[in-house]
């Protein structure tokens, strides 16, 4: 029996000819990742266990992106602990204020992740790198602490759901709408413990940034990972970024899938996930009655340059509705600089938005845009759980940058064609 793309990558990293769904394996890791919330706990575990060295100082990334620039003394203390650890072991993929970006936008941009690699990160959205044809998944801090010491970890080989994309994207439709549509179809536990393997003629319709957004939110369907095949779009993106050899894995023609889900892109329109689960999806055109107080455009899901471009295209020459606050967060310093160069920053400022330095901040109710009771936000982030962006009685509506921008102008949920 053949293997899925994920299974092939795992087999190779476990030094096995083949693996099957459900098998427990130990796999070598090409990279392990932590942020300023999860790394401190990993360092404690690493030190408590008595480890005195890391497995490879080039294969650990520490990204201080969540509560930075530090929101309070406690978060500053956590960052200091990460900084001390990074210096002690001369970790070269250490990103601090000035170089830091939101981790899952930063690592692909900097060529730190590549097709065919096996990556874990103590952050649930580590599954983003499947966009490049890598196996990557989120773990906890103890797993990270162990991986930093030994460079490998255990996995249960996942079964897979085959997601066949076909048709053509409509105007304003992006990867965000595709993944929200999929989560709406299969539910927040629809792919629990499984891989989401994307395939079909519609893959060519998906830019690398669409793919990054789609794989980023695989976890919101409970998936272990999401993964796209490696094609010319992938090669064009990694060329000039990744300077080491990498491997393009392909699913076997006779690979076994638990089930197949088909998405006809012609039928996908701008989609919004209402509180309090990402599966609670509705068409953006039906949101007129939902007045909003804030928009957030950014995050590991939608903080890349094309996301900024999509928001700027809608906001150009317009202004936020009275009473709506607009927070735009380019995900990396490169994106931040490009926004200035392309004139997007001026467009955002003219529209009445603020432009924040890279941070995860508001996505998880950390800082830079928490909400009070009764407030509502249309956000390009990835979770709309109770209390996710502040008060438990505040509400987060998940959408694409174009929809968030349109909603900011309208003062209620809106499709970009409506403003």
């Amino acid at each position: 029996m053949g293997m899925t793309m994920t299974q092939k990558i795992l087999a190779q990293h476990a030094g096995l000819e083949s693996v099957r769904a459900g098998q427990l394996i130990e796999a070598k890791l090409d990279l392990c990742l932590g942020n300023d919330i999860t790394t401190p706990v990993a360092i404690n575990e690493f030190e408590k266990a008595g480890f005195t060295d890391v497995f490879d100082k080039h294969r650990i990334a520490i990204v201080l992106d969540h509560f930075t620039p530090n929101k309070d003394i406690k978060s500053a203390t956590q960052c200091k602990q990460c900084r001390t650890f990074a210096r002690r072991f001369d970790i070269d993929r250490f990103f601090d204020t000035g170089t830091v970006g939101v981790e899952h936008a930063l690592l692909p941009e900097q060529g730190i992740v590549a097709p065919g690699e096996a990556i874990i990160g103590a952050d649930s959205h580590t599954c983003t790198y499947g966009a490049l044809g890598a196996f990557s998944t989120g773990v906890g801090s103890t797993d990270l602490g162990a991986a930093m010491a030994v460079g490998k970890t255990w996995f249960k080989v996942p079964a897979a759901i085959k997601v066949v994309l076909k048709g053509k994207k409509k105007p304003y439709v992006s990867g965000k709408d595709v993944i929200l549509t999929l989560i709406g179809m299969i539910g927040v536990d629809g792919a629990r413990y499984e891989s989401l393997e994307f395939t079909g003629p519609g893959v060519a319709e998906m830019t690398i940034y669409d793919r990054l957004t789609i794989c980023n939110m695989a976890i919101e369907a409970g998936a272990k990972n999401g993964i796209f095949p490696v094609d010319d779009i992938t090669r064009a993106y990694v060329s000039g970024r990744v300077d080491r050899p990498w491997t393009a894995f392909e699913a076997d023609p006779d690979a076994e899938y638990e089930r197949t889900v088909e998405i006809d892109l012609d039928q996908v329109d701008c989609t919004v996930a209402y509180p309090h689960l990402p599966e609670n999806t509705h068409p953006a055109r039906e949101g007129k009655d939902i007045a909003i107080d804030q928009i957030v455009i950014g995050s590991c899901t939608n903080g890349q340059l094309p996301d900024m471009a999509a928001a700027a295209a809608v906001l150009k020459g317009r202004h936020l509705a009275p009473g709506v606050r607009g927070i735009v967060i380019p995900a990396t310093m490169q994106v931040y600089r490009a926004c200035m160069r392309e004139g997007y920053t001026d467009i955002f400022l003219d529209a009445g938005c603020i432009v924040s330095p890279p941070t995860c901040g508001p996505c998880l109710g950390g800082h830079m845009g928490c909400m009070a009771a009764g407030e509502r936000c249309v956000s390009t982030t990835n979770r709309n759980f109770v209390g996710r962006m502040g008060h438990t009685e505040s509400e987060v509506y998940l959408a694409s940058p174009a929809v968030a921008a349109a909603s900011g102008i309208a003062g209620h949920i809106a499709h970009p064609e409506e403003v």
Binding site: A49, G140, T142, A146, R388
Partner: protein, 163 residues
């Protein structure tokens, strides 16, 4: 090994943001994390919970963020075992890694009521509701996981291997 205590019951898709809200993640102190455990959906949980109590929930328990602070907070609040219909995968790993007992049992998850006195036998996987008198059989851990738990969690089992 057994656990016995009063049940705190919750629904489906209990996410890590409600188990421990991100606004409290600037600390790693288990007691401080426990003080805010479940507060966004049950502000009285931390007042009502007693050492050894049991948490029961529906499907996809622990979905969302990878924060290990979630099982740490539950454990430090005094919960001796979480019984759920099933668990989100990162939470499942984290709970095992930090030594929070968890059991998958859809039937027990449906059959146990809030406030019941429940006993769990970890060796056999038998769950007994002492209030209703009903019993259920939970899914046993795969041998690999059981071995890791026996050795005292991930770090301890790694150290044992290295030695």
């Amino acid at each position: 090994m057994n656990a016995q205590g009063k049940v705190h019951k919750y629904g489906d898709h209990i996410d890590t943001d409600v188990i421990i809200p991100a606004r409290h993640l600037a600390t790693q102190d288990p007691k401080e994390l426990a003080a805010h455990c479940m507060e966004d959906i049950d502000k009285d949980f931390i007042k009502n919970v007693h050492e050894g109590d049991i948490m029961v929930a529906g499907v996809n328990f622990g979905c969302g963020s990878s924060r290990e602070h979630a099982p740490i907070a539950i454990k430090a609040a005094g919960i001796s075992c979480v019984i759920a219909a099933n668990f989100a995968r990162i939470f499942y790993r984290n709970a095992i890694n930090i030594g929070l007992a968890i059991l998958e049992c859809p039937e027990a998850s449906a059959g146990i009521s809030a406030g019941d006195e429940v006993k769990v036998d970890f060796d056999t996987g038998v769950i007994t509701d002492l209030t209703s008198g009903k019993t259920w059989q939970a899914e046993p851990f795969p041998p690999f996981i059981k071995d890791m738990i026996t050795k005292g969690g991930l770090m301890a089992s790694l150290r044992a291997k290295e030695a």
